[in-house]
């Protein structure tokens, strides 16, 4: 850059322009990365928002479902030679299946227990899943072989855009829109909201509440599984995934509030952008940014950004 400055007629202005431009492209790249990261967090965590906010169950084992999806996808792609895009739905289905089995056999007995019992139980599940995956798949980090079309960056007006991250934004964006529609517009959405608001009245109206809950739980697990498969490339996939990212999921849910999915969605974006920007601009202070934002928001709005004002 120093060489170019001398050749210009007005060195000061040229430098400023150049610096400004570089600054803007960097800013866009960071914004883009942050949004992709945030979207990923949302897909991973929104199942937790559902179980916690709607069903009032503290499921710390949520990350374990994400990990399952990731490993299923990895095995299918790397060992059985499936195409990546065919393995993604399988990641969703397998996590959802495991979710529904566990919900029917174990979780449903605990809906009425204290939160501490639920924490103890789900942490136990996390420990078991960590050790089991370590036993079956080994403790090294694994990667999913990607199709060539998803590797590298596209140059968009000087802003480098990662193809993989672009795909994440597209998939997650579509999912979010779909979820919002289902919850707000469909019959199932209104049943779910009814079952949550007043389970007794809902079952009186002929809604099969346990079934609605089981389905919702399974769907949340499936989403986590999909998120796990997508995140292997960016966050890395190893047996400790559920423990490492448990905190991030909790932050998304508490900051976003758990009464709708808009809250967690915006919280994910905020967290994603804050994390990426914090690491870029103040690399040494990276973690501070996130935790400070979280504490400030929670002090300011104890029920989360979009939480219900009245305590449950």
């Amino acid at each position: 850059m120093r060489g170019e400055v001398g050749s210009r007629s007005d060195p000061g202005e040229g430098l400023l322009l150049k610096v400004g431009e570089a600054y803007m492209t960097t800013l866009f790249t960071i914004l883009f990365d942050g949004v992709a990261y945030g979207m990923l967090l949302f897909v991973l965590a929104c199942g937790l928002a559902v179980t916690l906010g709607l069903m009032n169950f503290v499921n710390l084992a949520h990350g374990a479902f994400a990990m399952t999806g990731g490993y299923v996808c990895a095995v299918l792609v790397n060992q059985s030679g499936w195409p990546f895009f065919a393995a993604l739905p399988l990641a969703f289905v397998s996590s959802a299946l495991i979710g529904v089995v566990l919900e029917r056999s174990l979780y449903r007995h605990l809906y009425h227990r204290s939160h501490l019992d639920q924490v103890l139980f789900s942490v136990g599940l996390v420990f078991m899943s960590v050790a089991a995956v370590d036993y079956i798949m080994g403790s090294s980090r694994i990667f999913i072989k990607l199709p060539a079309a998803l590797e590298g960056q596209i140059d968009f007006f000087g802003v480098g855009i990662g193809r993989y991250r672009l795909m994440i934004i597209v998939i997650c964006g579509l999912l979010t829109a779909g979820l919002q529609l289902v919850l707000a517009r469909t019959r199932f959405g209104s049943r779910l909201r009814a079952a949550v608001d007043d389970p007794r009245a809902a079952s009186g109206l002929g809604i099969n509440v346990p079934q609605v809950f089981a389905f919702t739980f399974a769907f949340g697990c499936g989403l986590a599984g999909l998120g796990g498969a997508l995140s292997a490339e960016i966050l890395g996939l190893d047996p400790y995934f559920p423990l490492k990212f448990m905190i991030y999921f909790l932050i998304v849910v508490t900051v976003g509030g758990s009464s709708s999915i808009t809250g967690p969605f915006l919280a994910s974006l905020l967290l994603g952008i804050g994390d990426v920007a914090g690491k870029y601009y103040v690399p040494k202070m990276g973690p501070f940014v996130i935790y400070t934002i979280m504490i400030v928001i929670l002090i300011w709005r104890p029920n989360g950004l979009f939480g219900r004002t009245a305590a449950r």
Binding site: S139, Q153, R165, D238, D275, Y280
Partner: protein, 391 residues
């Protein structure tokens, strides 16, 4: 009456025999307390070393100089508090004759005062900070120091037309060592460091740091991340298009650990690192070692596995030399200056510093039979730890 008497005699005889045998049996077994991270983020290090030791004992039998070798494995999850307690318990309760392993520097340091106090050898099989062996006269290292490879890659970079380098290192003792020694040698040769980033040890996403690297437009980036994080790093390096921008990766070989190298994809091709071991090292001994390891554990051995393999070899040889005596001072004396041929090449224990002296190879990632390997193309022989030769 008579039968009773003979019965009594028999019982007494057996009892006497047991009493006579008991101390002999206790004499026979030599205990090695192996403390490794078997769970947590560093678990792959622990598993490689554990595997290599199992392999060695399979190949060479579980007794040496007439004494049985017994390995007691403990998991410290790379947390120094645990290491210290486990080492203490192994020494006090199990009466081990060696403590060995130590996945990370803090763990090795935490155990050092105990080795001194109990006068038993501490064999460091992984941790790579220079200062470790200075913390106790009973520490011997069979892994490596970061100074060994970082100084050499620093010199190499200068000679091969790399002028501007951005550095990315993990923020803990080995990372700081690597950075310090690389900077010294690189700057002495006239190179310039344009950007310096330290990433936290536990770090999920390299992307923003890599963006900083890219924006500083260096010729190459010097990278140290602990073994195991290398894969994730290279993925994001490629995703961010740093390979297309012509920014090469150089560094100590931890980032290109054989353990994960093959999963990194073609972005890793052409990466030049300096390190002590490559699974592609072209000696017959190494070929046999890699084949045996692959057969037993269906995975490629990395440099951690070799360090463990050499560590247990050192213990065997030292016991042979002392004739099975387990006096700490005698064992340390026996280890000093010991030379042998390892799968990584010829190595020896420096009699003054008790640190390892070994060849450092400059390697480039290439495809061999469809798999990625670090192919060695230049050798620096018998490199001592620069962290100590200086003083």
């Amino acid at each position: 009456m008579r039968t009773k008497f003979s019965l009594l005699q028999a019982v007494a005889g057996v009892a006497l025999g047991v009493v006579a045998l008991a101390p002999a049996q206790a004499q026979e077994s030599v205990k090695i307390g192996l403390i490794l991270p078997m769970t947590g983020g560093q678990a792959s290090t622990g598993k490689q070393i554990d595997n290599a030791i199992k392999l060695y004992m399979q190949q060479n039998g579980d007794s040496v100089a007439g004494r049985k070798i017994e390995v007691i494995l403990k998991d410290d999850a790379a947390v120094p508090d645990n290491t210290k307690r486990l080492a203490q318990e192994l020494i006090v309760n199990d009466k081990v004759n060696f403590i060995a392993g130590f996945g990370v520097t803090p763990a090795a340091l935490a155990a050092a005062p105990l080795a001194t106090e109990a006068k038993i050898p501490e064999i460091v099989m992984a941790a790579g900070t220079s200062i470790i062996t200075e913390r106790s006269p009973y520490i011997v290292r069979t892994s490596f120091t970061l100074a060994q490879s970082s100084t050499i890659i620093g010199d190499w970079a200068v000679k091969n037309g790399i002028k501007k380098v951005a550095t990315l290192t993990s923020d803990y003792a080995p990372g700081n060592d690597a950075l310090k020694f690389f900077k010294e040698h690189f700057a002495a040769g006239g190179g310039e460091i344009v950007e310096e980033v330290k990433v936290p040890l536990a770090n999920p996403d390299f992307a923003p740091f890599l963006q900083r690297m890219k924006d500083s437009k260096p010729d190459a980036m010097f990278v140290f991340v602990p073994a195991g994080q290398g894969g994730n790093f290279m993925k994001q390096y490629a995703e961010r298009g740093l390979d297309k921008a012509g920014i090469k990766v150089i560094g100590p070989g931890d980032v290109m650990d054989d353990d994960v190298l093959n999963g990194m994809g073609d972005a890793a091709l052409g990466t030049v690192t300096a390190h002590l071991y490559s699974a592609a090292h072209p000696s017959q001994m190494n070929k046999d070692f890699v084949a045996a390891y692959k057969k037993a554990f269906s995975n490629r051995p990395g440099f951690m596995a070799v360090s463990g393999y050499d560590g247990i070899h050192l213990i065997y040889q030292a016991l042979k030399k002392t004739g099975g005596k387990t006096d700490g001072d005698a064992l340390i004396e026996a280890m000093k200056g010991m030379k042998w041929e390892s799968p990584r090449g010829p190595i020896s224990i420096d009699p003054e510093t008790r640190d390892i002296v070994q060849n450092i190879y400059i390697r480039k990632v290439e495809k061999v039979d469809g798999e990625l390997y670090n192919v060695e193309f230049q050798t620096f022989e018998a490199v001592k730890d620069a962290g100590k030769t200086k003083k």
